[in-house]
Amino acid sequence: MPKLITQVGCPYCGSSCDDIEVIVSDDNKKILEVHNACIIGTNLFMHANDPTRPKLPRMRQADGSMKEIAYPEAIDFMAKTMLAAKKPLIYGFGSTNCEGMAAVARIAEKSGAVLDNCATICHGPSFLAMFDNGYPSCTLGEAKNRADVVVFWGCNPMHAHPRHTSRYSIFPRGYFTSKGQMQRTILSVDPRQTDTAKLADIHLMLDQGHDYELFDAFRTVLKGYDIPDVVAGIKKETIVKAVDIMKKARFCMIFFGMGCTHTDGRNHNIDAAISLTRDLNNYTKCSIMAMRGHYNIAGPGQVWSWIFGFPYCIDLSKGTHAHMNPGETSSVDLAMRDEVDCFVNIGADAGAHFPIQAVQHLKKHPFITVDPNFNMASEIADLHIPVRIAGVDEPGVVYRMDNVPIQFKAVIDGLPGVPSDEELFDMVYERMCELTNTQPVWIAAKEDRKHPANISAVNEA
């Protein structure tokens, strides 16, 4: 008899929807139906049924082919390779749980690695702006219940966060927003007419790459000064009208995305947006939020800030302190400048997302991919280690885009013999400790951890 599992978290986008319902077969092996999720989320669950999912690590052979090997051999290779490297780079974590991120932090510290996550090619500049200017943010619940003016700046949730608009930002009826969409004024700032822009009351179609000037114009108008007739391709009247709408809002909510963080100026665009948010609070309530991409990409920011004091681009090679300076310690810069000699790709696809030159540099050295599925990074890797899928066959804590932690469930049993990220990294850590004749530090690990339960059994296997 198939079982219905409710209140399941969706391991796709930063909205981290936690109202998914999944029907699974009575043996807990197969997902039959997924309700409430968007089409991408549904596919993510259904993908776990794929019978061709890798079940054993694969090592590149001398002739270039991949050969399946046992887990202890893969763990030994990963531990030895990372210890031998002068400066390994660990990148990824778009799709793992916080337990895995905490476990990998122990490996990174032991091997003197640079620890980086997908924010480095995504919302990393938002962090830099937060360092410089603060982050006057709120939770998505507040946005849903209070916001009557919503600004989408350089983001397109209709495609990137499919249920964001229906759960939090445009359509839902909240406590003070009981009329839903009718009560909300939507502004979209985007050089393209996206599907989100089509929903907006005003679409400011600015010249690409001129967000900073437009933010400055908004602030100048807000301060009561005159601005030129056209700024960033937008007429003065439109800017004045938009500022007036934001000023007269009961609660104004600014969501920003890649359009701000990865056009010229990067962190300065966000910096100006945060300044605008602060200025608007002289007149009304205003809040700002980064449209984080993955369901738990806010996780490494939380976990590693707690452990090392920095959210991403953490250089632990000194052994005594963490050093962080994107531009120097960011993954793509390290790769382009040939500054690392080992690459570990975890729960992300550097093969698909990095510039080709960066991948070419990384490929000169050992390249390890830890991922439940086959992807571009796994196909060019020297070693591919499969793990369970966090949020599908492995439970865990994830942080939603507003930094609210949510406990995700496992809906099916994991593939037999395949470890979770946390178990794998703890085994690698234990092996590193054996190789360096040091005692593993388990003080910081949670008491009910699954590993080490019996490391010697794994070694002998």
Binding site: K87, E213, D216, G265, E328, E339
Partner: protein
């Protein structure tokens, strides 16, 4: 004055983090002792002697020590960082953090430098004959107290983020600059002799910028107030005087609001 000459013998596989290549670290040491000073390459501990041959002994103090690197340092970081006196000359390129957190003395790079040249600088002088990458005289990430004093002169072009969060000192770019000049600055002077793409003086509170060439995209928060004749870095010219950034907070002095000044050659 005593001169220590370092001659590169091999190129580091990764980047060499040569925090100890400063007159302060060399002072009072002979050539053998200098060769044993520690550097880092990734997590490995290396010495200056692993990558350079050292000749000549250092002076008794940093002020009496001149360092000459007779070769290319494209893969050497932190040259002259945190130095307080003396001189460093590189007959070639240098990597990141040249003269970062520097308090005094003089650095002359005869080639190009990479990013973060003179970040959080407090005094002294940096001269770069070639180009500079990004973040010249910028603040360290998250620090609202940027460059406080000293002079940086880049003879070639520079990238973005010049003098971010600057509080004092002078930066002179003789070539062109990309974007973000004196962003968030609360003092100091930046002179760009070439063209700038845009974002000059964004979120600027106080301080002065001179631009001899064109600004492709002017910040909307800057307002033209008058025309003035000035002598800037030895050149006399007429400049359009703008004040701004009108969108940013500004302090008051003697009842008048203090704005940042932007002088654009007419």
């Amino acid at each position: 004055m005593a001169t220590v000459t370092l001659t590169p013998t091999k190129t580091p596989e990764l980047m060499l983090e040569a925090n100890s290549v400063t007159p302060d670290a060399f002072a009072g040491k002979n050539a053998e002792q200098i060769a044993t000073l520690e550097c880092r390459e990734g997590k490995t501990h290396v010495t200056i002697g692993d990558f350079f041959t050292v000749s000549g002994n250092a002076g008794a103090t940093a002020a009496e020590t001149d360092i000459v690197i007779a070769g290319d340092c494209t893969r050497v970081k932190y040259i002259g960082s945190k130095m307080t006196a003396g001189t460093v000359t590189v007959n070639g390129n240098a990597d990141m953090y040249v003269g970062g957190w520097m308090k005094g003395g003089k650095i002359h790079i005869k080639g190009n430098v990479d990013s973060f040249c003179g970040i959080a600088m407090e005094g002294g002088e940096i001269l770069v004959d070639g180009r500079a990458q990004n973040h010249v005289g910028c603040a360290y990430r998250g620090d609202w107290r940027g460059m406080k004093g000293g002079t940086i002169r880049i003879k070639g072009d520079a990238g973005n983020d010049i003098g971010t969060f600057m509080l004092g000192g002078t930066i002179i770019i003789e070539g062109n600059a990309f974007i973000h000049v004196s962003t968030h600055a609360e003092g100091g002077t930046v002179i760009v002799k070439g063209n700038v793409d845009g974002r000059v003086g964004g979120q600027m509170v106080k301080g002065t910028i001179y631009v001899f060439g064109e600004i492709k995209f002017m910040m909307p928060g800057f307002k033209k107030v008058d025309k003035v004749d000035l002598e800037v870095d030895g050149t006399k010219a007429t400049f359009d005087h703008y004040i701004g950034d009108l969108g940013e907070r500004h302090p008051k002095s003697k009842g008048k609001t203090v704005f940042a000044d932007l002088y654009l050659k007419a």
